[in-house]
């Protein structure tokens, strides 16, 4: 009964999204597309941070790996489908390669290694001019074609991205409700106990990190044809920190969190346009308030308001405190 309702809500949301561009201008459609692409990368961060309880400071770097992989392959004449899976696959493999040594040691070390990796990727993109175009970037990245029709028009490209994002979202949903998802939750809540129950904590953590990173790669493969231009700036350490911020603001560990967080990150600068360069200040202040009063993020806040109406307030608070309070090392 409840799940039937949830399915209906999802169907309505997807339908609404599919129809949205009909009433919107070119720039608005661009922003919506950017939101979807950002949300895909954020889904990956949420898997790593929210479900598996690790910290990643390299999602923007994986976005970059995906973007350059797909752009370079597209320029070499490789079909988009292949380039797309190559972008995700390479990110997955690199995720395994850097996660493997980092996860031998304590919790925060994955964060440290990804931080170093993030800077390193940025340096490679900037320095290897022969491959990546260096600081001048790669121009004129073609949008893919489908059945012979170019997806250059902004609405067609939006629908294309929507379809891919929906598929990736479904795959993520499948993953987190499978036994793997249960294992992820277990290793976040209590890795020692999980290990004693036969959960290979290192392997699951590594897989969560690699799959989350692959989502960064997939998002990158969509980002390049969306913007039609890439350069090193959006793949630096700073944007990686912003990915982490966005997922926590949305609600880490909740399935809708990344979508909400990405919406805030993409749309807030638009809403705060009147504030010109002050919007970063406002955003930062909001994040701090959010963390202090509702660490479960906007989704948690919405849930709390909802249950306040329906249940005694005390229970809702307990729930909120429980959600992130136990993420201690």
């Amino acid at each position: 009964m409840r799940s039937g309702l949830a399915w209906a809500a999802v169907a309505v949301a997807v339908l609404a999204l599919a129809l949205a561009p009909l009433g919107l201008g070119r720039y608005d459609v661009y922003i919506l597309t950017l939101w979807l692409v950002t949300a895909v990368a954020a889904l990956g961060v949420n898997l790593i941070v929210g479900y598996a309880g690790q910290e990643t400071l390299a999602q923007a770097a994986f976005l970059g790996i995906g973007a350059y992989t797909s752009a370079l392959l597209a320029k070499a004449g490789v079909p988009f489908g292949l380039a797309f899976f190559a972008a995700g696959g390479i990110s997955f493999a690199i995720g395994l390669a850097i996660g493997f040594p980092a996860l031998r040691v304590q919790k925060h070390y994955l964060a440290f290694v990804t931080l170093a990796f993030s800077v390193f990727v940025w340096l490679v993109i900037r320095n290897e001019e022969w491959l990546t175009g260096g600081v001048m970037g790669l121009k004129d990245i073609e949008r893919p074609s489908l059945f012979g029709a170019s997806l250059r028009p902004h609405r067609l490209f939006f629908w294309f991205v929507l379809a891919i994002a929906a598929a990736l979202t479904f795959a993520m949903w499948w993953l987190v409700r499978s036994p793997w998802g249960r294992a992820f939750t277990a290793l976040r809540e209590n890795p020692v106990r999980a290990e004693s129950l036969g959960v290979n904590v290192r392997r699951y953590t590594l897989l969560a990190f690699a799959i989350g990173s692959a989502y960064g790669g997939f998002a990158g493969a969509l980002y390049a044809p969306l913007v039609e231009f890439i350069d090193p700036a959006p793949f630096a350490l700073g944007p990686s920190l912003l990915f982490l911020l966005m997922v926590v603001v949305g609600g880490s560990g909740s399935f809708a969190g990344p979508f909400v967080g990405a919406a805030v990150a993409v749309l807030l600068p638009e809403w705060l346009r009147f504030a010109e360069s002050y919007y970063l200040l406002i955003y930062a202040a909001l994040v701090i308030l959010m963390m202090a009063f509702c660490p479960t993020g906007l989704v948690g806040l919405a849930g709390r308001l909802w249950s306040l109406r329906r249940r005694p307030a005390r229970m809702a608070e307990d729930e909120g405190a429980r959600a992130l309070g136990e993420a201690k090392p």
């Binding site: 036994p179 809540e189 209590n190 020692v192 106990r193 129950l197 036969g198 290979n200």
Partner: protein, 247 residues
């Protein structure tokens, strides 16, 4: 009967402190062995060395005659060794049923099979049975974090049995559990032992509980085994009395 578990000269040093100092013992199929000793005598450290949580400084552990020293806890678990911890360790955000399925799922099929297969990893029926067996049926869909302490303790123990282990190491299962629940717990453990032939090693401070449950008792003091025998023998052993009273 053959020895399920053989412990040979286990030592564990923390800095200058020798927490476990050359412990050897065997546990045979179907036995319930109690491990007692004063606080700080190294019981939990010994467990952790056997179970791969700590790497012992010296010595080895054999399971069914195979050397398993240095294996990770998850590998040992998949070889059929279950355990509980001294402090309560359930997953508060999962339901009772989910906790139990989690406890068994890693023994079902392959990694990929678990990803693409059924959500319950084919364990719903087994979970149901375990829930019934530990008398948690009315709580099956409640979040574990919302259960009372005793109920959580039962769940904790139940999880250790989910995968049908041959050897279970229980660290203070009776700690903090009220009297009625305690009798329940003992009776359940005895039933598992009888019906499934599971072997136990139990650390316990509650002497009544341990004396009634165990067929053989090892006494640990200052990292060494100072006495071993049937419950009534151990009870009268002067070394044991000194170890307890002298500290």
């Amino acid at each position: 009967m053959s020895a399920v578990l053989e412990v040979r000269g286990i030592e564990k040093q923390f800095g200058g402190l020798r927490a476990v100092d050359g412990v050897s013992f065997d546990v045979r199929q179907g036995e319930i062995v109690g491990l007692i000793g004063p606080n700080g005598s190294g019981k939990s450290t010994l467990f952790n060395c056997i179970l791969g949580q700590f790497e012992p400084t010296a010595g080895e552990v054999m399971l069914d005659g195979c050397r398993v020293t240095g294996l990770r806890p998850s590998q040992l678990n998949r070889l059929g060794v279950g355990r509980t911890f001294q402090l309560l360790q359930v997953f508060p955000r999962l339901t009772v049923r989910e906790n139990l399925i989690l406890a068994g799922q890693e023994h079902q099929g392959s990694m990929l099979g678990r990803l693409f297969g059924a959500r319950d990893a084919g364990l719903s029926a087994e979970a149901e049975r375990t829930i019934e067996f530990f008398r948690l049926a009315h709580l099956a869909d409640a979040r574990a974090g919302g259960l009372s302490y005793g109920q959580q303790k039962l769940l904790d123990v139940a999880m250790a049995f989910m995968a049908g282990p041959r050897l279970v190491l229980l660290d203070e299962p009776a700690g903090g559990v009220n009297l009625t629940m305690l009798a329940d717990l003992r009776e359940r453990l005895e039933t598992v032992n009888r019906e499934r032939g599971a072997t136990f090693v139990v650390i316990e401070h509650n002497m009544e509980f341990v004396m009634a449950l165990c067929s053989r008792i090892l006494v640990l003091a200052e990292g060494r085994i100072i006495a071993e025998g049937k419950p009534h023998e151990v009870r009268r052993n002067p070394k044991v009395i000194e170890a307890y009273l002298g500290h």
